[in-house]
Symmetry: C2
Subunit: 300 residues, 2 copies
DNA sequence: CGATCTTACGGGATTCGTAAACATA
DNA sequence: TATGTTTACGAATCCCGTAAGATCG
């Protein structure tokens, strides 16, 4: 049993209930008076009840009309509220974006991007997960992130991967270290020096292991955080090699960073999103800004 | 800014969100699939967002579609609830009637009528005001009663009066009273006997005063309630004259009631309702039953 | 008789269903 | 290639506005 009452009929009813005059109420809906009359009649027929007692001199609500008035007003208000809510989301006046990003991006490159985003769309809430690549992917897969920036490609078929940027590796060492001023830097030159490694789960480490066999490295220690690497290097315990996007950690007095021109030693950052699933208006807006603000390909 | 989204569009949207298949969802609305497709498209255009990601193999909600789904379902539920509510009232499954009736009618004639009414329409609440005629009219005038049964006509132009029934007067006295067996009863025969009167505000008294000048009466006492009149008469203090509709008070052992064949001494009961104001479905139903159950014109 | 609602009716927009075209796994 | 959506298009329907008719104070 479905009653396809239209919102127009409701609006007509409310207008007439307020104006108590067909001609004026019709004008308010930008309708001719007979057309308006038909609209009221159709509503009455649909409900099976007269809503107005009317003659040429007076228009009054019937008891049923009276009790229907508040109902109709509430329904219309709910309706309009719901519609403006949708429009607000579409217009990016409101909404929420969730993204998952590698910690290295989250600390260095991301903040100014989000700052600009927030200035553009102050009504959109932001939800950032600064987690490792595997976790990034999982969050996109489960839907808890709209998209992600990670260092690995997605494997599952419901995800879509696109290259976001390339991230070249740099040597980091003390300014008084011999390599700081060496004319040429080759990977095997570095191998002999005491080296501060990141944990094997990090993408940085995986790239390094792929480029230089671990056996050839003079690994001094393994730590979890890049900030720790920096501390170790600054105190002269060893050197390290990190991607360009993490260099902000090493912009410290007494430290030197030097690009490595090594073929194949380039970390790729990927943007991961669900396939066959469009982004929300808010997520699309962030996606576009993120793509526009890609780290310079020449960085490093 | 009014968005005339129709309930059909909402129903189409919800059907598709649930079925995730245009063909099946179209069938559910008894529509051809292309017509259904157009309905969805029109909704998406109106809202300015795609609500479904679709290809020939899969139909999925977009993020906007997802958040719109609960909104649409709630709106439709509210809508349908409001509509069935109206229909329930029209079908007399629910509702309320308020009526105002003279106490004499309220105690004797009314209860079985309301009993039948309640059996017919168990969902309709009843509101009875058993008050004197003036008060009956005032309640109709103010809208707190849908209609009234009173002993006076309405004066104000917004009220409409119709004759409901005629109520003949009867002598009430003890069985051992001389008048109980008198061959003929004339008004002047009664006048000499001690008489128990009702208060001047009662319609019964007003009729009597109009028929027999008070000076000609042997008034023993004035009381407010008919039940009191009965008690006085039963104890032999005097006689009285009351309308047929109140005789149930006097159906007591040792009491006699005898009709008075006096021209002009007939109380009229009127039904009063607002002019130019239709009755609610519930009130109309009671009105019709009340008219069908009019006290027999021959009563008395 | 004047203001106002209803009825009558022709034209135009909307919406429908059928059939063909198109897309994807 | 099979399934399922979109496009194309003629037909039916719905809805509007103008004009005439009816009604009440």
């Amino acid at each position: 049993m479905q009653m396809d009452v239209s919102t127009r009929q409701l609006r007509a009813f409310v207008a007439l209930a307020q104006q108590r005059n067909f001609t004026r109420a019709a004008a308010r809906l930008h309708l001719s008076q007979p057309a308006f009359s038909a609209l009221i009649r159709s509503l009455e027929e649909l409900l099976g009840v007269r809503l107005f007692d009317r003659n040429t001199r007076k228009v009054e609500l019937t008891p049923e009309g009276e009790s229907f008035e508040e109902v109709a007003q509430r329904l219309l208000a709910d309706f309009d509220h719901a519609m403006t809510d949708v429009r607000d989301h579409v217009a990016r006046r409101r909404g929420r974006v969730s993204l998952a990003v590698l910690p290295s991006l989250a600390a260095g490159w991301l903040p100014p991007v989000l700052s600009e985003f927030h200035a553009l769309y102050p009504g959109i809430d932001l939800d950032v997960a600064d987690v490792l690549s595997e976790d990034c992917l999982e969050r996109v897969r489960s839907g808890s992130a709209d998209f992600a920036l990670a260092a690995i490609r997605a494997d599952s078929p419901e995800l879509r991967t696109e290259v976001f940027c390339s991230d070249r590796f740099h040597l980091v060492c003390r300014a008084d270290h011999p390599l700081a001023t060496a004319p040429v830097l080759r990977l095997r030159d570095l191998a002999s020096h005491p080296f501060v490694q990141l944990a094997r789960t990090s993408s940085v480490r995986q790239y390094l292991d792929a480029a230089v066999h671990p056996m050839q490295m003079n690994t001094l220690m393994e730590v979890e955080q890049l900030a720790t690497v920096m501390g170790m290097v600054r105190s002269g315990l060893g050197i390290s090699v990190v991607p360009a996007l993490t260099l902000f950690h090493f912009e410290q007095p007494g430290l030197v960073t030097r690009p490595l021109q090594v073929a194949g030693l380039t970390r790729r950052i990927f943007l991961i999103r669900r396939r066959d699933r469009s982004l929300s208006a808010a997520a699309q807006a962030l996606y576009e800004l993120v793509m526009r603000k890609k780290p310079d390909e020449q960085a490093g």
